[in-house]
């Protein structure tokens, strides 16, 4: 019956069916009330869908705008001296780039967003967390970033969830934000994941070209079972 009401409201009825519906509404007050309820739901859902699309589009425009602002600030004013200076620097940069490229190749071949594997996914009453986890595992990192604050406080302070949250920012190339999260988490929470936290911090510092801090982070992993060998490899490249 309810499906019939939604079908009528979407205008998918034949003229005969539509007539029968409208006649029933005039004679049956309870039925009319039910139709009004379904109409409210229809309108509310359409509005909600529209709003979500608008939110997503507005975010995209904002990011495009920010990129344009950054690009504008970087435009140099040209002169012959600047051109010569740029040529001289370019040669030096090429050498550095060649070396850096191997570091970025290392990053590319060794970075993966941390996956939780089999962990407690919460009971059926913890629907938000379950949905959030699912989205993260499916690679919907944007959802993970946007919906983190909707999670219960218990999950927002959980070391595992915070690590995934940080990885979501890494996936979005927001390394500074990822570092803010990883550095803000208390060591008391992150004891069991100290290796992971230092590993991802190191990778973020690499991407931000902060070799000193990257070295410090990787140096802490030399005795780590999981990351020790990789840490040793990257430290040789950074020396």
């Amino acid at each position: 019956m309810t499906t019939d009401i939604f079908k009528y409201l979407e205008g998918n009825d034949s003229p005969k069916e539509k007539d029968a519906f409208e006649k029933r509404m005039t004679s049956d007050a309870a039925f009319k009330e039910e139709v009004m309820l379904c109409q409210n739901i229809n309108q509310f859902i359409e509005k909600k869908v529209q709003d979500e699309e608008i939110n997503e589009f507005a975010k995209e425009i904002h990011y495009d705008f920010l990129k344009r602002q950054k690009k504008r600030k970087g435009v140099p004013t040209y002169s012959w001296y600047a051109v010569v200076a740029i040529l001289i620097i370019a040669l030096g940069i090429f050498g550095v780039w060649f070396e850096q490229n191997s570091i970025h190749r290392f990053y590319k071949s060794n970075y993966r967003a941390w996956q939780p594997g089999s962990i407690n996914r919460g009971t059926s009453t913890e629907a938000k967390y379950s949905e959030w986890l699912e989205a993260y595992e499916h690679g919907d990192f944007e959802f993970a970033i946007n919906e983190f604050k909707q999670l219960p406080l218990e999950q927002q302070t959980d070391a595992i969830v915070v690590l995934m949250y940080a990885c979501a920012f890494i996936e979005a190339d927001e390394f500074e934000q990822a570092l803010n999260i990883l550095n803000a988490t208390s060591t008391a929470y992150s004891t069991m994941l100290t290796g992971e936290y230092n590993w991802y911090k190191g990778l973020c510092y690499l991407k931000l070209d902060d070799d000193l801090k990257a070295k410090n982070a990787f140096a802490l992993l030399l005795t780590n079972n999981k990351y020790g060998t990789l840490a040793s490899e990257i430290l040789k490249k950074l020396d």
């Binding site: 229809n42 909600k48 608008i54 997503e56 995209e60 425009i61 904002h62």
Partner: protein, 196 residues
């Protein structure tokens, strides 16, 4: 939304560019709103990152108000956009309680009315989120993609369906399922009874 005949014929072009999500035009308009806010901010000296928030919310409200048909046909789209930005800027200031520098009442009447129309309450939003999680995994993903504006063809490719018609039918079934769940939610039924 039907384009209204208006004394500013360029406005109809601008509105359709915005409604059709013309990216180049939208970023350009976004920049213009930003420069307008910088001008407003000269005496107020609001922090840049907070001004960015005002910019983002102004643009969102502009899109939402256009979608719900609240655009005043007598002004250009840019004027309307700026009036929304001004409204948001002053509201932000009120919330920061810095009234000695600026006053909400300094805005024109039409600027005060350039406000967001949400169309649903916080409670309805909560019910939507709750019942959304009660859908099957497949339905949730389809509706997420649809809500983000992906075409049915794109969704079919992403989810491994044969063609867009399959996605279209599935999306309709999932949406109806969600509507049924909301309708059968006893808290929602009580809320609607009290509201009426």
């Amino acid at each position: 939304m039907a384009l209204v005949p208006n004394q500013h014929k360029n406005s109809n072009d601008d509105i359709s560019k915005l409604l059709n999500r013309d990216r180049k035009y939208c970023v350009q308009l976004y920049e213009e709103i930003w420069h307008f806010l910088i001008g407003l901010n000269k005496n107020a000296k609001v922090d840049q990152s907070e001004l960015m928030d005002v910019l983002a919310s102004s643009f969102e409200y502009l899109l939402k108000n256009l979608g719900s048909g609240d655009f005043n046909a007598k002004s250009t789209l840019k004027t309307y956009a700026f009036s929304i930005a001004k409204n948001q800027f002053y509201k932000f200031f009120e919330s920061k309680k810095q009234r000695k520098h600026l006053s909400y009442s300094k805005m024109d009447e039409h600027e005060q009315k350039s406000d967001i129309r949400v169309g649903y309450s916080d409670f309805e939003e909560e019910i939507y989120r709750l019942e959304f999680t009660n859908l099957s995994k497949k339905c949730r993903w389809i509706l997420r993609y649809v809500n983000r504006g992906y075409t049915h063809t794109t969704i079919a490719n992403k989810m491994g369906y044969n063609n867009r018609h399959v996605v279209k039918n599935l999306a309709l079934r999932c949406k109806n399922k969600l509507k049924m769940l909301i309708k059968n939610n006893s808290d929602y039924q009580n809320y609607m009874k009290n509201d009426n």
